[in-house]
């Protein structure tokens, strides 16, 4: 996994609430057996019409918006557990998602793929949307070490939550799997005790 420390970027606003993972990556694109190339189909049916035309008004298609931070409405990532959603976001280039609420499984999947989900209050979320609406070039600074999100234009300097373990993983680019493999002895001892 790539290391994550500090990010300064403009933002892409997606004001829709309850964005489910079927929208992030529709089921028909889940037939791959590797994890490459999902970014192409990120938000596929919101980005393109059935005959492949670009939907100009969708946020990802508006040239004024760019950057590695997606700002989304409440309850982002609900529904299916498909990690393909996180792969698609990462492959497209997003490193941070800001919302007022994240679904559990999505949050875990994001963190396992080096994407930082930042939860802010509904009021702060609205201020960010307004700021980006006024000026699409507004930048946010994400400082993981100090757990700070700073957006001067929206008058926002907030601390965000992340547990120490996950923070350590992101900063160092560690995967859970290596940690668990290192625990095999303890796991075997647990199995013995139960048997």
């Amino acid at each position: 996994m790539e290391k994550f420390t500090l990010l300064k970027s403009s933002m892409v606003p997606l004001t829709v609430e309850n964005v489910d993972t079927d929208q992030i990556i529709p089921a028909r694109f889940l037939k791959a057996t590797d994890r490459k190339g999902f970014g192409e189909n990120l938000f596929r049916d919101w980005r393109f019409t059935t005959d492949g035309q670009t939907k100009e008004d969708f946020t990802l298609n508006q040239t004024k918006y760019s950057g590695a931070i997606l700002v989304a409405g409440n309850n982002f990532g609900c529904g299916s557990s498909r990690e393909h959603a996180a792969w698609a976001l990462a492959d497209y280039g997003f490193k941070v998602v800001i919302s007022s609420f994240f679904a559990d499984i999505f949050k875990g999947n994001a963190l396992n793929n080096g994407i930082l989900p930042i939860q802010v209050t509904p009021e702060n979320l609205q201020s960010i949307f307004s700021a980006v609406n006024l000026d699409a070039a507004v930048k946010a600074t994400v400082d993981l070490e100090n757990q700070k999100l700073i957006i001067d234009a929206a008058d926002i300097t907030v601390s965000f939550e992340i547990n120490d373990y996950k923070k350590m993983c992101l900063i160092n680019g560690y995967d859970d799997i290596d940690y668990l493999i290192s625990q095999r002895e303890a796991i075997e001892a647990f199995e013995q005790k139960r048997a």
């Binding site: 037939k31 557990s81 498909r82 499984i105 995967d175 799997i177 796991i187």
Partner: protein, 458 residues
């Protein structure tokens, strides 16, 4: 200390906790399918390691499989590749596979319980959010992402923060036309799709105690649709009777010993929950959804509500519906009875009881898709196939089918489908398809009438 059912199962599976971090939770059973496992097998390959406990993994092919001509090679090249990859991986890593053609094949959340793989007090995971289904047995079961599938392969454990606990009590007396699906759609409509986020839910009260295992599975299946990681129901005699005698269930003395243990699992009197909700069963009627998330549900006799909220307006626009209007009597063109929510024998018995002696409307295309080969066999053994076929319903072979439309069973753009599945998201049943979630009886009645009807009045 007084403990909840959830605490009892969780605490006995924690190996240790990472400082200021998650628990290392031991997993008893790991279910896998073709869509969310290939990249996890690749991670094993990259690391050059084997599966730590292959005997605790059970695999099936369900999401991609066609529901016709399952004896022939799969036509769609990508689906075929994915299903074949699963067979190859299972062979290489020593995992038992109930693939196409196997008498135990079926939707992962249908076969686990029916084979006795699912048992009270277990921890279970699957790379699929509806793993919550298995909680109906008093197991802790939840969906995980593919990275976590790889972690369980590598260590039979996952790293996870202990969720908070919620109790949802439904008690009183249900109207006879109200089914388990209506109960859970009602609860989600009341609480919303994010109320359960961060929680594990225990469903309790006489309504769940009186439910069959099939009904309990329908309820727990949809706990994820209110955001909860999983749902649970305390194991009781109904549970023990269901598990006893199944293929992989303990037998004889071992079963007795297990039952003695399982009886200790229910929540202690006076144990506390982080959140609690109570509902009166009498308030529940046959339900249907009108929007694009499962929380957008109403009693079938009620009007669609109105709201200026952007997401709400967008949702109704997609559905081609108007606020403040009735769904009752609205024509529909498709009906799907199937999915891990409602594809067990009891669901088809209920649908058949309604359909018997009637004909489906000529304007409706109606699909019946059993959850497993065993359910398919049972349908024939009970003669339900004759009822479905003579009424004009298409009876297909087992799989996820139109629940997520990864195979050919797609609902056309713009068409309304009354579906017994669990998700009415945009495009879930095919690009542009419009899904109305309901119970098997409501779906069967819609197929016969060609429109939305209130089964409590028929």
């Amino acid at each position: 200390m007084k403990k909840t059912l959830f605490d009892k199962v969780w605490d006995t599976h924690v190996i240790s906790s990472v400082k200021h971090g998650p628990d290392i939770l031991y997993i008893d059973k790991h279910l896998i399918h073709e869509v969310t496992s290939p990249q996890a097998f690749n991670m094993l390959k990259d690391k050059g390691i084997s599966i730590f406990r292959p005997q605790q993994v059970v695999a099936t092919a369900d999401h991609n499989v066609p529901t016709e001509n399952q004896h022939l090679p799969i036509q769609d090249a990508l689906s075929r590749k994915q299903v074949n990859q699963l067979s190859k991986n299972c062979e290489e890593y020593g995992v038992e596979l109930f693939g196409l053609g196997h008498p135990f094949q079926g939707i992962v959340h249908v076969i686990g319980p029916e084979l006795g793989v699912t048992q009270p007090g277990m921890t279970m995971v699957c790379g699929d959010s509806h793993s919550s289904t298995h909680g109906a047995f008093g197991a802790i079961a939840f969906g995980i992402g593919t990275s976590q599938v790889a972690q369980v392969f590598a260590s039979q454990c996952i790293l996870v923060d202990k969720p908070k606990s919620m109790r949802i009590v439904v008690s009183g007396k249900l109207h006879p036309a109200v089914e388990p699906k209506d109960v859970v759609l009602y609860v989600i409509a009341k609480l919303g799709t994010d109320a359960g986020t961060g929680y594990f839910v225990e469903f309790s009260g006489n309504i769940f105690e009186e439910m069959s295992m099939e009904g309990r599975m329908t309820v727990c299946n949809m706990s994820i649709e209110m955001g909860a990681r999983g749902g649970m129901i305390a194991p009781d005699q109904t549970t023990f009777d269901y598990v006893s005698g199944r293929e992989f269930a303990p037998k004889g003395k071992a079963l007795k010993a297990k039952i003695t243990h399982w009886k200790t699992l229910p929540t202690d009197e006076g144990a506390s929950f982080d959140a609690e909700y109570n509902f009166d069963a009498a308030d529940i009627g046959p339900m249907i959804t009108y929007g694009t998330n499962p929380g957008m549900g109403i009693k079938i006799v009620d009007k669609i509500p109105s709201s200026n909220d952007v997401s709400f307006v967008k949702s109704l626009e997609y559905m081609g519906l108007e606020a403040d209007t009735y769904l009752l009597d609205m024509p529909i063109s498709h009906v799907f009875i199937g999915s891990c929510t409602n594809s067990r024998i009891e669901d088809f018995r209920a649908a058949a009881a309604h359909i018997k002696g009637k004909q489906k409307s000529p304007d409706v295309s109606a699909l019946i898709v059993p959850g497993s080969q065993q359910v398919a066999k049972q349908i024939v053994a009970e003669g339900l196939d004759k009822i479905f076929e003579s009424a004009g319903f298409k009876l297909r072979q087992p799989g996820c089918s139109a629940c997520l439309a990864m195979n050919d069973d797609k609902i056309p753009a713009g068409a309304y489908c009354v579906s017994t599945s669990n998700r009415n998201f945009e495009g879930r049943q095919g690009q542009g398809a419009r899904t109305l979630l309901a119970s098997p009886v409501t779906a069967a009645a819609a197929a016969v009438a060609g429109k939305i009807v209130d089964v409590s009045q028929t």
